[in-house]
């Protein structure tokens, strides 16, 4: 019989190693899956993991997808550290995009680039509002934030669907369910001509730095984490659990909303029912793979973006469904959770006769 025995001291090096081990495990499982599907595993893995890194443009596309993932996951990392289970970031993302879209649709052809600022502020407020509903119901009535935040995802998606089928439908849109294209002034400024990479990238990096300052260098961040790790100790120290709940949810809602606004006014340039593509759910994995640490989250977001682009390539080049990405994402989180334990515990052969 094998048994698990806790290591006397959880090693920091091993904790950082777990995501790498998980990635290796995922790649191996992926290779097995490709082989089972009758594809050359090496060829498919090259397509998935190397092809998206081949050129400057490819790398910029990688960053474009990583931006929303990183922004959302940064907020989720704060939530999870505070033991607040916000799993409805997808809804907050949609709410942010809708609010951003509401402002962007007011812009005319002559509107200047200043409009981007109100668009992004509206996006942040929209995401915060959607998350505030969760905080309110949790705080006031004790309703589970897991279920409320998740249910609100479906409500937000239906809301978006209603807007683009109804009041906000483009009258010149050949009856397609979508808003009119936003005016040129609303476009999030791009960093390099010819690339889609825009202001979102520096914003995401700044957000990572800000979250790092909050969590590692501020008393407020310390209180949040104590509340998550040891609620009794936090109560004894007089740290407010309600404060932590509201802070974590408003922060993550705001960041998810910002991501939604950047997506709507950036790569999309209009609102359509295809806006939500699951970034809010993938960001949960990003947060865990990034060890709930802001800089880890940025690295994990790039990795997850790689999986998205790899999935698209697998579809266009070798005719495998794009949803392969979802399989890899799930495998990655499973592998990480398993590796975590195996690195925190020692596997020991149980002595005969021991329970």
């Amino acid at each position: 019989m094998l048994r698990l025995e806790p290591r006397p001291q959880p090693s920091a090096a091993l904790a950082a190693l777990a995501p790498v081990a998980a990635l290796v495990l995922t790649v191996l499982l992926g290779a097995a899956l490709f082989a089972a599907l009758g594809r050359d595993p090496l060829d498919a893995l090259r397509l998935f993991f190397l092809e998206p890194l081949r050129s400057g443009y490819a790398l910029s596309e990688l960053a474009v997808k990583a931006v929303p993932l990183a922004l959302i996951a940064l907020g989720l990392a704060v939530c999870f550290r505070a033991n607040v289970w916000n799993i409805g970031a997808e809804g907050q993302f949609v709410a942010g995009a809708v609010c951003a879209g509401g402002v962007a649709l007011q812009a005319g052809p002559a509107t200047g680039g200043w409009i981007v600022l109100p668009i992004l502020l509206a996006a942040i407020l929209g995401g915060m509002l959607w998350a505030a509903l969760v905080a309110l119901l949790r705080d006031r009535f004790g309703a589970s934030e897991i279920l409320v935040s998740l249910m609100l995802v479906y409500v937000a998606i239906q809301g978006l669907d209603w807007l683009v089928h109804g009041p906000w439908k483009d009258p010149q849109g050949y009856n397609f369910p979508q808003t009119a294209g936003f005016a040129p002034g609303t476009r999030i400024p791009r960093l390099v001509a010819g690339w889609r990479l825009d202001l979102g990238a520096p914003l995401a990096v700044a957000a990572a730095a800000a979250v790092w300052l909050l969590m590692s260098r501020s008393f407020a961040g310390f209180r949040l984490q104590v509340g998550g790790l040891a609620p009794d100790a936090a109560r004894y120290a007089g740290f407010s659990a309600r404060g932590a709940l509201w802070t974590a949810l408003l922060l993550s809602g705001g960041l998810a909303g910002l991501a939604g606004g950047l997506e709507a006014a950036g790569p999309l340039g209009q609102l359509t029912p295809h806006l939500p593509v699951g970034y809010g759910f993938a960001a949960i994995i990003v947060a865990f793979v990034g060890r709930l640490h802001p800089f880890g989250v940025v690295a994990a977001a790039l990795l997850m973006s790689l999986l998205y682009i790899g999935g698209e390539l697998a579809q266009s080049r070798i005719g495998l469904p794009k949803s392969l990405t979802g399989v890899f994402q799930g495998l990655l989180l499973f592998a990480l959770l398993a590796c975590d334990t195996l690195l925190q515990y020692r596997v020991r052969r149980a002595r005969p006769g021991a329970a």
């Binding site: 698990l4 806790p6 289970w85 799993i87 119901l137 009535f141 004790g142 309703a143 589970s144 897991i146 279920l147 409320v148 998740l150 249910m151 609100l152 479906y154 409500v155 239906q158 809301g159 669907d161 209603w162 089928h165 109804g166 759910f281 993938a282 949960i284 994995i285 865990f288 469904p321 949803s323 392969l324 990405t325 979802g326 399989v327 890899f328 994402q329 799930g330 495998l331 989180l333 499973f334 959770l337 398993a338 975590d340 334990t341 195996l342 515990y345 329970a355």
Partner: protein
């Protein structure tokens, strides 16, 4: 059938999906394990059930495949949570995300397929009764089985020794362990059985309720089933009641649309989710009542000897 009978029939039909999954999750939670992976298990099971029924032409094979798929995924979850002490919430989320991805990936070839029409089941004699006869007695056998299951589960949990042991494991795994009960094996068994029920629910969805396979077709039902266990304060009969309530709300949207009520269809589609939030808020207002009924060790890991 008259209008009321149609509504009742549809409510029973829609409620059964939630009832089966809710009862499975209740079994998990009575043993102290929260499985947030219900949505993923139901999706994979819906696909497995549909594919098996499509290949064999037999519904029974479909249901068996669905239950088996649910049980297999639940066993994976159990191995991680119980064997490797991973976080229950994170692992359950991983299962939900993995299930959604896996079923979307493996189900691509099944999206356009249909199942051959099958004869409708009817309880002889009773189905011809006027008024509600057809609504109540012309349902799929699993509808009646789920009612029997709720009764059986209540009896098992409250009246049998094995049920007492299961509840003890959910209330205080340490004490149960001290008594020499194999806590982890019991938890794994409960999780696997719960997964099989979630799998049946998924298969019911793709074989009876729609009957089609569509990516993401559970549309949050796994999560609503999770909410149901809390609403029901972990009582099987109340899970059943809640399931029909939500089945009814879901059906109300078609009913209202059919009557020409001028409401955006999206608002009606959002109704079940809004209703879940409202009921959750109403129920959660008395935390003492919930706490009194909640298995004391719910969601807490058990590490023997720690």
């Amino acid at each position: 059938m008259n209008e009321l009978a149609l509504l009742v029939a549809a409510t029973l039909n829609g409620g059964t999906v939630l009832a089966l999954a809710g009862l499975g999750l209740l079994l998990n939670e009575r043993a102290g394990i929260v499985n947030l992976g219900a949505e993923g298990m139901m999706l994979v099971a819906a696909l497995a059930g549909f594919a098996a029924a499509h290949a064999t032409g037999s519904d029974a094979a479909g249901f068996a495949a669905g239950a088996l798929a649910g049980a297999a995924l639940a066993a994976l979850f159990g191995a991680l949570v119980i064997g490797l002490h991973t976080d229950q919430y994170a692992t359950g989320l991983a299962l939900s995300l993995f299930g959604a991805g896996l079923s979307a990936f493996a189900g691509v070839d099944y999206t356009a397929r249909t199942l051959p029409p099958r004869p409708r089941f009817a309880l002889p004699g009773l189905a011809e009764l006027p008024w509600l006869g057809p609504a109540l007695f012309r349902q799929h056998p699993l509808v009646y089985a789920s009612i029997a299951l709720a009764a059986g589960l209540a009896w098992f949990l409250l009246r049998t020794r094995a049920g007492l042991v299961l509840r003890a494991v959910g209330e205080s795994p340490e004490s149960a362990h001290a008594l020499g009960l194999p806590v982890r094996r019991i938890r794994l068994a409960a999780v696997t059985a719960g997964g099989a029920l979630c799998g049946l629910a998924g298969a019911y969805l793709s074989l009876v309720y729609t009957p089609l396979w569509v990516e993401g077709m559970t549309a949050g039902r796994g999560w609503i089933a999770l909410a149901l266990t809390t609403f029901a304060t972990w009582r099987p009969a109340r899970v059943l009641l809640g399931a029909y309530l939500f089945g009814g709300v879901t059906m109300l949207q078609f009913h209202l649309q059919g009557r020409g009520v001028e409401l955006p269809s999206q608002l009606l589609s959002a109704l079940p989710y809004l209703a879940t939030i409202v009921v959750l808020v109403l129920i959660s207002r008395s935390p003492a009542w919930i706490r009194a009924n909640m298995p004391a060790a719910l969601g807490k890991p058990f590490v023997p000897g720690a």
